[in-house]
Point group: C2
Chain length 258, copies 2
């Protein structure tokens, strides 16, 4: 699976502090830790309410990529900051994220086309969030159609079925699992699938247990990538055991250390 670290995000107090003081070393150490823990991609998010989102995003991207070679995911609702992040990055990035809202798509698909970016596509629009697998697939189809219109290969999309908190929307867990298989069948080449894993445990106790248990289920239904915390060793062990059980990595007695 593709592990996208959620930790380089101004929502975390320590990261917010490092941003305010332009603490290069803190950010670079955090990036190295995340990669060492198993992150394949680093999500870069300035956090809300910053003065100069474009300048800060550019600084974060440059700082992080001076420390590690991992792919970056540029995570901002601000289109200017998005382009600042994309153009500061040495490699191809993941745009995080569009939705099926017309204004969002009109702003972000041209960027994805221009920079040959991958793109996370949240299956919702201005009218709201989906409540079953079919409505998730319908939103997904809108964005897949838009990608085709822009000549973007459909396997550059990461379709996100929107994991909802189990404490608030308990009936949605199985529906997200069902949506994953539907997403894969929407286009050829098959789109990738991604979730924001920790949403499932928002406002619950037992967050790590719920996160890792749901990740195992998602992987068993074909999930490709998750935005998650690789420094949680138990969720990473569950992911590795899942890949062994699903025959995606060759079994070895010491598979946890491979």
């Amino acid at each position: 699976m593709i592990v996208i670290s959620e930790r380089i995000n101004g929502l975390f107090k320590s990261v917010s502090k490092a941003i305010d003081s332009r603490d290069t070393q803190f950010l670079q150490n955090l990036a190295r830790e995340q990669v060492a823990a198993g992150a394949d991609v680093l999500d870069i998010n300035t956090g809300p309410g910053v003065d100069d989102p474009s300048g800060i995003m550019k600084w974060m991207v440059e700082t992080v990529q001076d420390a590690v070679d991992a792919q970056l995911s540029i995570d901002t609702p601000n289109v200017q900051a998005m382009e600042a992040g994309i153009s500061a990055a040495k490699g191809k990035v993941i745009i995080n994220s569009t939705t099926a809202e017309a204004a969002k798509m009109d702003a972000l698909f041209p960027l994805a086309q221009k920079y040959d970016s991958d793109m996370i596509c949240l299956t919702l629009d201005e009218k709201g969030i989906p409540n079953d697998a079919n409505s998730r697939a319908e939103f997904a189809m809108v964005m897949v159609a838009k990608a085709v219109e822009f000549g973007i290969s459909t396997d550059k999309l990461y379709l996100d079925p929107l994991v909802l908190p189990v404490g608030a929307a308990q009936d949605q867990g199985m529906k997200v699992l069902e949506a994953l298989g539907m997403f894969k069948a929407i286009a050829d080449p098959a789109p990738k699938t991604v979730v924001g894993l920790s949403n499932v445990s928002n406002n619950t106790k037992e967050r790590p247990l719920l996160n890792r248990t749901y990740l195992v289920m998602l992987l068993a239904y074909g999930l490709d990538a998750a935005i998650m915390d690789p420094s949680d060793t138990e969720v990473m062990e569950a992911a590795k055991a899942s890949e062994i059980l699903l025959n995606k990595k060759l079994y070895a007695d010491d598979f946890l250390r491979v």
Copy 2:
């Protein structure tokens, strides 16, 4: 889910010793522990190579049911010991197990009919073990047809897709998951499904991690019951979290203690 404890089994040295010395108290304490840990059903197995399998099975059943009210699963390849166990039990038992072999079915389906027992049905026959989901479903259909012939309601069957060790048969993990859905569609009322969970980790390191990870996957594909060790608290927590995420138990902040 239905948790069937695997611990009251002469394969475990301490149990074998208790059987040899007819240690009533040991066996009753073990039974109480298993029920307290979350076992719904206790599997009763004399272990191999005992002198008087029928007498020992009768003693084990009587001893255990004097301590706890849980349903019993009579686990023996010996047909006389099976009937000794069934007839010693106060309640209706689970016969563990028949296969699709003609001789097995001819011996055990009449017992299931006579005593109104549930029955675990292993999907294999004299020609061997299955290697894909379809062959598992074919074996299952043979036993479902036999149940119908004997007037046994198909929801009294626990179809077992045969979990194989991931280290030896890594490609079978996903095939077992696929088989579970096929089993449910074979008959109306739908048969139940069961696995011997710990087989998945036979001869591997990381046994508890592989057991609990695979259980989560199996539950996400609709598994009803597992023969497992409820005294492994982590596998039980994974099972509880799964039931919450699959909306089979109502979410509560303290769901682990409910």
